[in-house]
Amino acid sequence: MSDLPVLKGVLVLLACQLAGELVVRLLGLEVPGPVVGMVVFLVVLRVSRPRPSSGLVRGPALLLRHLQLLFVPAGVGVIVYLDELRDDALPLAAGLWLSWLLGLAVTGAVVASLARLDGRRGR
């Protein structure tokens, strides 16, 4: 299979991000450009309904398969910073992980129970 479609897909992603960044700056919005770009790309996908073999699917799929790679450099920054956190380790660790756990549990429970209700009503 030719890789040209993948290149085209990546080009479309860059174009959508560029559109998002421009909109955010021109209108002075407080959202990140890529998030607006995601909405733009969603519209492109809904309208064009590309086949699975199309670059519009294969380009993004390639990036998403390696999404973890893209967070590595920022994560390395954390390691460098860790030493400076020692003095406040307890409140930071407790605040981070307890709040993470509560947020995860509540969000999951709310969606699961409402989705169950919805499903029952639908039947």
Partner: protein, 241 residues
Amino acid sequence: MTPLLGWHPSETWDWLSTSPLFGLTLTLGAYAVGRWAHRRTGNAVLQPVLVAIVLIGAVLLVADVPYRDYLAGGSFVSFWLGPATVALALPLHQEWHLVRRSAAPVLAGVAAGAVVSIVSAVLVTRFAGGGDDLELTMAPKAVTTPVSIALSEQIGGIPALTAVLTILAGITGAVAGPWVLDRLRIRDPRARGIAIGAVSHGIGTSRALQEGRTVGAFSALSMALSALATSLLVPALLLLR
């Protein structure tokens, strides 16, 4: 006359450690090792992102390379986070029939998640002995880095520290999110995705995508909506402090 051939280890190292080639090769190499370890062991804790971060951190520490020099190459990789965020529209598009049907539970879940995340972050940090600035630094930690950093700045937290906490929240979700949801017996893929995206943004979403397309799509959706909800709620909730 200078000899034709010499031996210049320190000049070579000076060049190498500040060259983008170093950070870029190290990043891709460590990620390849991480993927290999993840596949080989099947251990969910060995997420490639975590393995790679630890490996690179160790190399930088041992070789005494400053983070800024590493970023000369590392930033080539981080650049693609923008296009990858745009790419998250793909799973949303593919799962659109489910997304459209689940609007009410999704919106309720995201709103509840944002309120609980912010309030509990502030209160737990306070009761564990953190000062005012730490509470404010912790408040926006659940959402994607560009938003959490901007919010931290806006409310008077420490943006650099918020960035660190945000990434740690993400890695926690990638490593432990699905495991915790199993223990809580939350099995609906939509609920799992929304929950992971709400507290662990893009890094959690990278794990959610491994769990399946539906979980990944709802995690991506949740990460975007949570960023929005948190931007609105953080300043409002902090007025009540």
